[in-house]
């Protein structure tokens, strides 16, 4: 018995040693020279691998900008990171447009009508291709595919409604990519205290909207008729033109006048 243990240990130890020596030698011989600048840039970058820049990781992004030396934007990093990296590489710093995510469905679990139950994997992507779960075929399914991909932990689901913490949101847009119903929009944000948005995505006429949801936009146009209003109607649904310059009071007024209370705000 003892003999087998000793022999086993010797064989395993010997093989392990032989392979590790080979690997160590080869790793020395095949060493890849990496640019020390990449490491420095990587230290400055947020390092959350959010993918907003179009690269799959911060390391790939750092390698690309060190190699190309072109102006770049790292949205989550904000101005601070962009300035530091630009200085390090000696390139022109670019103005960073800060964006935040809003979700175009603000109905809670009680407000959304459900006439057929869904049983299956708890993922919005699955529910979206079935007929069950939610009567409104535009609205938020509320199973939180967006919650699981958010690198900043800014999304939570409260009473079946997606709530975004604007303070935590870095504007990477991962949620927008994963949402099967394209409910997310990245809106520009310049430090206002509140972000207003239309909390509905239903493009049907009022009759249908009323049958599936209490909170839906009925396309009445009250918000559009306010003076200097940034709202416009498209496919029976109200939208905000965020490019237009407007003041927050108009939005507040529209929010109060909205008959179904589907213009909502997020505190920043």
């Amino acid at each position: 018995m003892n003999e087998i243990i000793i022999k086993g240990l010797a064989v395993m130890g010997g093989l392990g040693l032989a392979f590790s020596v080979t690997l160590a030698y080869l790793s020395h011989r095949l060493k890849v020279e990496s640019n020390p600048l990449v490491e420095k840039v990587l230290d400055i970058l947020p390092g959350i691998n959010c993918g907003a820049c179009g690269f799959s990781s911060c390391r790939n992004f750092a390698e690309a900008i060190v190699a190309e030396r072109k102006p770049f934007t790292c949205i989550p990093g904000g101005e601070d990171v962009n300035r530091k990296v630009s200085q390090l590489l000696g390139i022109q710093s670019q103005e960073v447009k800060r964006v935040k995510a809003v979700v175009h469905c603000g109905a809670t679990k009680d407000e959304k009508k459900v006439s057929s139950f869904y049983v299956g994997p708890t993922s919005c992507a699955f529910v979206d291709i079935t007929l069950g779960g939610l009567d409104c075929k535009y609205g938020c399914i509320g199973l939180g595919d967006c919650v699981s991909v958010c690198p900043a932990g800014a999304i939570s689901i409260k009473r079946g409604k997606v709530v975004i913490d604007i303070k935590k949101c870095i504007g990477c847009g991962r949620c927008a990519k994963v949402c099967p119903r394209n409910l997310f929009e990245l809106v520009p944000w310049q430090g206002e205290s509140k972000i207003y948005f239309v909390a509905c995505n239903n493009e049907e006429k009022v009759g249908y909207v009323k049958t599936v949801c209490e909170r839906g936009c009925i396309g009445c146009g009250i918000c559009v008729r306010i003076k200097d209003s940034p709202f416009y109607l498209q496919n029976n649904l109200s939208h905000i033109n965020y490019q237009q310059i407007f003041n927050q009071e108009i939005l507040e007024e529209a929010k109060n006048k909205c008959p179904t209370k589907c213009i909502q705000e997020l505190d920043a």
Binding site: I4, V11, G16, F19, L23, S27, I129
Partner: protein, 193 residues
């Protein structure tokens, strides 16, 4: 010689690792999106499989059997495969950074590719001699590569097809793999006993 040819043909076509034994499905589905990375992956697997089966044969017959330590086969095989994969990874990283990027996580994942461990275990279970083991490992890798390339070709063409929304992505890939496996069943009558 006849034995070697038989082993070669039967492993590449008839008892194909991917489509008959359903081993190594992870890289088969993961890297078959583009032909260029599929070629790189295929050659890496051929290399690892050939060397793994020959080194495993040597270690198994010259050390483990002699010292009565056959029960250690799994852990020793994994050790050999992991080290070989590391070596391949270093080579690819050094000499082809673009391939290294394209293969991504699937390159280190060859370590846990069940096709390679399966190849080593089959080879031991069938009592092949050294030459047969080398041919077996090589043809298993070649079979994997052939199927991977066929699959990558089909999937590149699938990009231009109007696939129904519910079938897009993984479902159509799995259906394609299933049909391909059915096609490979046709090879089962290739060699008359």
């Amino acid at each position: 010689m006849k034995e070697l040819v038989l082993i070669f043909i039967s492993t590449v076509l008839i008892n194909n690792f991917v489509l008959t034994y359903f081993l190594g499905i992870c890289p088969f589905l993961g890297v078959s999106g583009r032909l260029s990375s599929a070629i790189g992956m295929g050659f890496s697997v051929i290399f690892v499989m050939t060397f793994a089966s020959s080194i495993v044969w040597l270690i198994y017959h010259l050390i483990l059997v002699k010292l009565n330590l056959v029960f250690l086969e799994y852990i020793v095989f994994i050790l050999v495969i992991a080290s070989l994969v590391q070596i391949v990874e270093m080579f690819v990283r050094k000499y082809s950074p673009s391939l290294y990027q394209a293969l991504g996580i699937y390159l280190p994942l060859i370590t846990t590719n069940c096709a390679i461990l399966g190849c080593a275990l089959f080879m031991v279970a069938r009592n092949y001699n050294f030459l047969e083991a080398v041919v077996y490992g090589f043809s298993a890798g070649l079979g994997f590569t052939v199927v991977l390339l066929v699959m990558a070709g089909i999937r590149e063409d699938l990009n231009y097809c109007e696939v129904p929304k519910v079938f897009r992505g993984a479902p159509i890939t799995l259906i394609t793999a299933g049909l391909l496996a059915l096609c490979f069943m046709g090879f089962s009558g290739l060699i008359r006993a």
